[in-house]
């Protein structure tokens, strides 16, 4: 009996689930635990990590300057998410409800730009918005402005870059949710005398809320970490938490402090995911 159990269940489950489990343990669990440990470590005079317990890294995290940057980063992520929802919702609605065969093409047109490297596209924005960039040149040529507008290196430019990078992650779940909407339901609502507005708020919005939630998770969290966008378009004026971590792991050379900063980011992520699950969000839909 025991032998049968082994052959029928234990052995095959080991063979199938074993590799991925080992992989996840070794390359996800162990590194994260190590980062957690490192965040309590000290640094010697040559920037080496030494395993000597300290709370200094965490004390530094509560420095008012760091807190202001977390605030700035959360603000940037929040604005990015809101703008993505406001633009992507009507947009996804329009392409998902297109009846013709064009729908697939319209959908692919959202994806295609993302097969070009994201850095070079962000740099494209920099070229476009610079003092002598395309936009300023055009505006001055048309005599709309006489002096070049200062478009680069603001918080707003960073938000623009984030929206640009993360927009499809809002469109995809919304598109899926809206496509699932049953057309007859909308008609029924209209037949029952509901006006456009109430149909939207009472029928459509609740049915597509799941798309908004998963889209928000997929936009908000990465926006906290995309340091290269803040570097290229923000010019160092609108750093996000990702910049702080990157600095400690590269030029700052204080890995324990960087590890502690990463723990902050992990906690924010956990909090958001918990809220998402409370709202009935499905984890699986974040990855399909």
């Amino acid at each position: 009996m025991k032998k049968h159990q082994w052959r029928a269940n234990t052995l095959p489950s080991l063979v199938t689930v074993g590799p991925v489990t080992l992989w996840l343990l070794f390359f996800v669990a162990v590194p994260l635990i190590y980062v957690g440990v490192m965040s309590f470590c000290s640094l010697d005079q040559y920037y080496n990590v030494t395993f000597q317990f300290t709370l200094d890294n965490y004390k530094r995290l509560f420095d008012v300057n760091y807190i202001k940057i977390y605030g700035q980063s959360v603000l940037i992520a929040f604005l990015t998410t809101i703008i993505c929802i406001l633009v992507a919702y009507p947009f996804s609605f329009l392409i998902a409800r297109t009846k013709s065969k064009k729908k697939m093409i319209l959908y692919m047109l959202v994806i295609i730009p993302f097969w070009t490297n994201s850095l070079i596209r962000i740099y494209g924005w920099k070229t476009f918005l610079g003092t002598t960039g395309w936009l300023n040149t055009a505006l001055q040529f048309l005599h709309i402005t006489s002096e070049p507008l200062e478009l680069l290196f603001h918080r707003g430019t960073t938000v623009l870059g984030m929206v640009y990078c993360l927009f499809p992650f809002m469109v995809l779940p919304l598109y899926t949710a809206i496509e699932k909407l049953d057309g007859s339901l909308l008609e029924a609502s209209a037949d029952l005398g509901a006006k456009g507005f109430s149909t939207f708020f009472e029928v459509i919005l609740p049915l597509t809320a799941s798309g908004i939630f998963s889209g928000s998770i997929m936009v908000f969290i990465p926006a906290l970490g995309y340091f290269f966008v803040a570097d290229i378009l923000g010019g160092g004026n609108s750093d996000v938490i990702g910049n702080l971590i990157e600095r400690q792991f590269q030029s700052g050379n204080n890995w324990p402090l960087g590890a502690a900063l990463s723990i902050i980011l992990i906690l924010i992520t956990l909090l958001l995911v918990k809220i998402y699950q409370k709202l009935g969000g499905d984890m699986e839909s974040l990855g399909v």
């Binding site: 005079q45 010019g235 590269q250 050379n253």
Partner: protein, 350 residues
Amino acid sequence: MKKRILSVLLAGCMAAALLAGCGGKSSSAENGELNLFIWTEYVPDAVIEKFEKDYGIKVNVTTFSSNEDMLAKVKSESEGTYDIVQPSDYMVESMAAQGLLEELDQSALTNLDNIGSQYLNADYDPGNVYSVPYQGGVAAIGVNTSKITDDITSYDDLFKSDYKNSLVVLDDYRATIGMVERSMGLSVNETDASKLAEVKDKLLSLKDNIKVYDSDSPKSQLISGECTLAYCWSAEIALAMEDNPDVKIVYPSEGAFKFIDNWAIAKGAKNYDNAMKFINFMCDPEVAGMVMEEFPYLNCNQTAIEANADYASNEAKNVPAEVFEAGERDKVLDNDTIAIYDNMWTELKQ
């Protein structure tokens, strides 16, 4: 459908990889290899190719963009990953103290007498046991004179409220805080906490004037007109002057933040002899001449400078001796002081 896209994509990729493989040059490697770990935008490709051709050694280049970044990688990679590293002055001292550098075989350095004597036997490496100077410079002020007509002479002038949102500074906390310290008559290695509190106030007063932080290519900000003032390396200003004749260089009256970058051999280098050949090759006046054409830093090769009148007479490239003499180098600071510097930098950047 996805499957079909995938298979066609894969086929396309295989073809692309093949193409990329063919495109890559097959360099001669009859005399082994050499692994360089150098600053980005610092050694011309043509120089590397010349070395490969002359010596039949295949060179692999990896780049870094700060001393600390380089140090972290040298320490975290296994020994023998890199043969040659390119540390700045204070980093030579620090790496040597940590036993991360090999001593140089002085007998192989037949070209060393081309190097200006003022750069040899420096306090960070007496007797040049570990390092040979390559090039250096000072952090100077670049001014677009078509937009800024005031007479700027010092670091202190950069703090004027007229220059709101017009300055590019190095995205390097030691260099930029060092500038503030020099403007107050302090050392760039100040450690006194109460003085550093004053430094912080003055640093924060610069915030409104800073438009962008850029260590990689501050010249672009001057050339494109994005910024009208720059606090950056002399060579960057020299390059901006070539593209935009309105740009001029100002050496600060307070004495500048200066640096010298050096060649050194990493501990456990697998290709020690090739590395010595390379360092000696870099001291060749002809090679140094190629370097100064493309990256016009303050070249340490005196023979090469004498042979190039254009370079020698260009004060942005060939930094005047008295300016360099009056400058100050940064040193390794203790962790507590670093934390103070890091905090004020974080406060500036929010």
